[in-house]
Symmetry: C2
Subunit: 348 residues, 2 copies
């Protein structure tokens, strides 16, 4: 049995969606126990409205929460809030993993407060799964991984090499790719292209233990020619938001077209399955959640707008990640790369 | 009459496409003279195959050219090559502007070799026009401008402020927007979000003479909520390539869908004009070319894959830019912003 703490508060849709997701999962034949962390009265009230298997759902009381619009640093003044309590449960080993659809910065800070960085990891990263044209792994997952997308802004070569190791480990578990193809995002495929940090990281990854395939350009992001794209958080954030923006614009355009003329509407409806592929590429609502990588614990961020099904998926991904031994895999990968522990840095 | 030097060599489609573009334009009632720069025998041969008005087309002999795959630095060893000769014609005032669809790096180096930087401009930039959902300017141009997209990699705040001034000047001329909305691309709209260079540039642009609207996130790129997006060349390159990649993937998906089932093909054909909007957003082949901004002359990069019509458009944009007084506008904008000339830096 894998036990997952789920932050029941703080998502855009409120505790009901989160509780419904946990209830949904509890009725499936999976070996996962969900501990809903939040205001006990509110969570019990939400539970009273849904059908769930009580052997697989329990409640952990917390005091307060971080709203999507709150300054993430407020977690420091709210040690008993839901996301801090969930991270504490991971630290003490009471749960194997945590999931939150709340404030992203708050989640990263809460996790970093309670969980130590894996030795050799210079910076933790937030990774995101996004849809691609090409398929990945033996099950043909139509997704690739990009990191960092927001835990850092600018980083050095050492941090980028760490991101490569962490992304590779996560992709191997989630997409079941034996040796994920890892690339650095740059402004040219040649080894000398990019920022000084990227050029140095390229040198360090070449000939190393990872399946490093070199630099890729922006063109390769939607194509998905590699399994893991490594970049600084500033760039990753812009890329990810832009993918969302492109999806929104495409949907707007299709909507306007279908409302304007009857034959366009008819045309769209005839496309049926043909459009499904386009829809998948533009309207992905985070299938499984975005992992915070590099900490001594499994931490998954679900999208703020997550409905019950997205919460259920994020918990399943968390459990799969625990079973795949993510932390150990990252540890192994980081030592194979010869990344040195810097005690002073780690203590900061 | 505006005279434009056009590099006849070096494009992916060879001299024929370039010469056809010049011939096409010469038959229109425009006050533009094109000087085709290249191997005289080759250019005359190409001219012999097309119909053109000899009052508006002439040939300037050059020795050699830079191929798309050549190292851009080779221009230093080829002072008589077509792109270098064209830049020289701008310097000596024999022409008012230049256009090239050849090697981008070669063009930027050739232009920087012959043309001085405008006083106060720290770094020249390559800007790109890309399609957006929202319209811009009194004629409702469905495009916005993003810079730098490749003349620099990382830059400081001073350079970013210069990009803002140059982008604003160009947008005002080309889209005829009176006070173009200018924004910095960042990982959040708050003034403290971004790299140190962006945070400082934000402070310096606030309350200044430009219509600076703050930071925008990746979401706003395809939406086109602003007229000019300012970013470092490394980021701009990735963003631009990614927009191209998204377009290619969308077309692939639509193609596959239409070939797979007859009703999907029928559906696509019924969409007609509704799809045209989507096509415009994903299949833009550079309408007018990308300006190199910050030098004492008008320099336009046309897409390497430009056909005759794209070349014609690029020459028209060059002429419009000359008539709009780009260099003077940038000079005014840069002094209004109080950007200081750094003699030692400029000499480098």
């Amino acid at each position: 049995m894998v036990t997952v703490a789920v932050d029941a508060m703080g998502g855009d849709k409120g505790p009901d969606a989160v509780v419904q997701g946990a209830a949904l999962l509890s009725r499936e034949d999976v070996d996962i126990h969900v501990r809903l962390v939040g205001d006990a009265a509110v969570v019990h009230e939400a539970l009273s409205k849904v059908r769930y298997d009580p052997r697989r759902v329990s409640v952990v009381s917390a005091d307060g929460f971080v709203a999507p619009t709150d300054d993430p640093r407020c977690v420091r003044d709210r040690p008993q809030c839901s996301v801090m309590r969930a991270a504490e449960l991971v630290k003490t080993g009471e749960v194997d993993a945590m999931v939150s659809c709340g404030n992203t910065g708050g989640l990263i800070l809460a996790a970093s407060t309670h969980l130590r960085r894996i030795p050799g990891v210079r910076r933790a990263a937030l990774a995101a799964v996004y849809p691609t044209e090409q398929k990945h792994g033996p099950k043909g997952d139509p997704f690739a991984l990009i990191l960092d997308v927001g835990a850092t802004t600018q980083t050095d070569a050492e941090a980028l090499v760490g991101f490569a190791a962490m992304g590779s480990a996560y992709s191997a578990i989630v997409s079941e790719v034996r040796a994920p193809r890892v690339a650095l995002l740059s402004n040219g495929s040649e080894p000398h292209k990019g920022t000084p940090a990227i050029i140095e990281a390229h040198q360090r990854l070449l000939g190393g233990p990872l399946n490093f395939v070199g630099n890729v350009e922006g063109l390769e992001i939607p194509r998905g020619t590699v399994d893991v794209i490594v970049t600084e958080g500033f760039m990753g954030n812009v890329v990810l938001k832009m993918l969302e923006g492109v999806g929104e614009v495409m949907r707007d355009v299709a909507k306007k077209a279908s409302s304007r003329r009857i034959e366009w509407r008819l045309g769209l409806s005839m496309l049926g399955g043909g459009l499904r592929e386009l829809k998948r590429l533009t309207d992905w609502k985070v299938y499984g959640g975005a992992p915070v990588l590099g900490l001594e614990g499994v931490v998954i961020k679900a999208h703020g707008r997550s409905e019950a099904r997205a919460i259920r998926n994020a918990v399943k991904v968390a459990a799969k990640t625990v079973r795949g031994g993510l932390v150990e895999r990252i540890q192994d990968s980081v030592s194979a790369l010869g990344l040195e522990e810097d005690a002073s840095d780690r203590a900061s």
